[in-house]
């Protein structure tokens, strides 16, 4: 490691880290907020499921670098404006989370929903107080996939000149210096770890009834490959972070 480079660029690195955090977090939060109602809609109306999931999946097909460059032409922004990155990532997050939310809601045991209905919950109450809380583990597992891929995708924007941790990669490449690149990778991984802990905390807060062991990342990924037939996507791509528990019965019965 070249410490001279590090110490003389410390404030720039901090700036890049903060920019990276914002560029990752805003799309994640907005994308999730949009995905909740849309996913509920897709779950309510089975005919829409294919349409909504198919259309959103199509956006996922477009490589991010191409997306960043094409967006200004479609929505009329400046070509090098960071807002393009935010919008593109929001669409990616939405595309992923709509499916996760719809599948998560579908995995809520039927008896639970029927019990709520029998107790007099109206459709909206049923959604916010029963279905959504039960689907939280699935949704947060999906959100983790979205966050981690967003962290990586944001770095691509360095190629078109949007400043964030990816700028350390391009800088290192043009200087022929390994230090900035390694620094950038470590910081990206660090952000991933911190945000994972944040999601873990959120999961603990929102689902106090679950045993702590079920929440750790390792348990999450191990159970994803082991128990769930439909879960390949959880590891093959962000398309299918799978319902991790409770839903297994639903599929088999």
């Amino acid at each position: 490691m070249n410490l001279t480079w590090l110490s003389s660029n410390l404030s720039w690195i901090l700036e890049l880290t903060l920019a990276h955090l914002w560029l990752t977090l805003i799309p994640t939060v907005v994308g999730l907020a949009l995905a909740l109602p849309l996913g509920w809609w897709a779950h309510q109306v089975p005919r829409l499921y294919g349409l909504i999931v198919g259309t959103s999946g199509l956006f996922y097909t477009i490589p991010s670098l191409a997306f960043f460059v094409l967006l200004p032409g479609v929505i009329g922004t400046q070509i090098l404006d960071p807002i393009n990155v935010v919008i593109a990532l929001t669409i990616y997050t939405l595309a992923l989370m709509v499916r996760v939310v719809a599948d998560g809601l579908a995995a809520v045991p039927r008896e639970t929903v029927e019990a709520a209905e029998a107790m007099g919950y109206r459709a909206f109450q049923r959604f916010t107080r029963v279905q959504l809380p039960v689907a939280v583990p699935v949704i947060l597992a999906g959100l983790w996939v979205a966050v981690v891929s967003n962290i990586s995708i944001v770095t691509m924007a360095a190629i078109i000149g949007v400043q964030q941790l990816g700028s350390l990669f391009t800088q290192g490449y043009s200087l022929g210096l390994m230090t900035p690149i390694v620094t950038g990778i470590i910081l990206c991984l660090l952000i991933a770890v911190v945000l994972d802990l944040l999601i873990l905390g959120l999961s603990r807060m929102l689902t106090p009834w679950r045993p702590a062991a079920a929440r750790s990342v390792t348990a999450r990924s191990a159970s994803a490959t082991k128990t769930r037939p439909a879960s390949a996507g959880a590891t093959t791509g962000p398309s299918r972070p799978s319902p991790s528990e409770g839903s297994g019965k639903g599929v088999l019965s």
């Binding site: 991010s64 191409a66 981690v148 891929s149 439909a230 590891t235 791509g237």
Partner: protein, 239 residues
């Protein structure tokens, strides 16, 4: 937008070594080489993991770790480290393709192993009861049953490769990404947009191709359960 149309209207952009057909060709060639290598490594490994159940945790952990690694950083590190090892004509191509292979492996591997693991138990038992040898069970029952998930994994891998191959233009890999990089360098936004549009079209066409391949190769008996499990759209982490 007008720059985009101008770019496509210019006959000079349709011929020569920097022309659209040649760039599309390179993009597809690099992607196919990477996919072929990734398949050769990941499918046997996935069959082994799925069949024996060994190393699942390792595979899952590796896939997660690779997902968290920023692709652009990985690409640049590998090119900087590996470039001196290759002869001059491959100096940039080989390390970049190495990264494409690396990124494609997890999704094919998990698709294959999960597919084999979750092949209908009763079908496997029935085949064993009929006197199939373990090898026959694998090739005639488990693999066909695993096909939907395998194809979804390969599709994810292909999209990841095409996407990363675009970015790899930054480290001098030939292909459609060059239009984006060169356009950026010359402030030629028309060229950038044209490159981006071409990449998007290539990705969408490949996606459709995989959809079709799935229709043609997946046993009709599996289709109902496939829909029920909703394993179809396995998109790559778009990078």
């Amino acid at each position: 937008m007008s720059g985009l149309i101008e770019f496509f209207a210019d006959p000079g952009n349709w011929s020569g070594s920097t022309g659209i057909p040649v760039r599309i060709g390179y993009h597809l060639l690099n992607s196919l080489i990477a996919l072929g290598l990734a398949l050769a490594i990941a499918v046997p490994l996935g069959i082994y993991v799925g069949h024996t159940g060994r190393g699942e945790a390792v595979v899952a952990g590796m896939a997660n770790a690779l997902r968290a690694l920023p692709t652009l950083g990985l690409l640049i590190v590998v090119v900087m480290l590996a470039a001196p090892l290759f002869s001059s004509s491959l100096v940039f191509t080989a390390p970049a393709i190495l990264v494409l292979v690396l990124l494609a492996i997890p999704s094919i591997l998990t698709g294959t192993s999960t597919g084999i693991q979750t092949a209908d138990r009763s079908a496997v038992d029935a085949a064993t009861g009929l006197g199939y040898t373990p090898m026959q069970v694998l090739t005639r029952v488990q693999l066909p049953c695993a096909l939907p998930l395998m194809i979804s994994g390969v599709r994810g891998a292909m999209l990841q490769i095409v996407s990363t191959a675009t970015v790899a233009a930054y480290v001098s890999l030939n292909g459609l990404g060059r239009y984006i990089i060169d356009g950026r360098a010359n402030n030629d936004f028309g060229q950038m947009a044209a490159g981006a549009a071409l990449v998007a079209v290539v990705a969408l066409v490949l996606e459709l191709g995989f959809l079709l391949a799935g229709r043609l190769t997946i046993s009709p008996g599996l289709r109902r359960s496939e829909r029920r499990l909703k394993v179809t759209a396995g998109a790559a982490p778009a990078t």
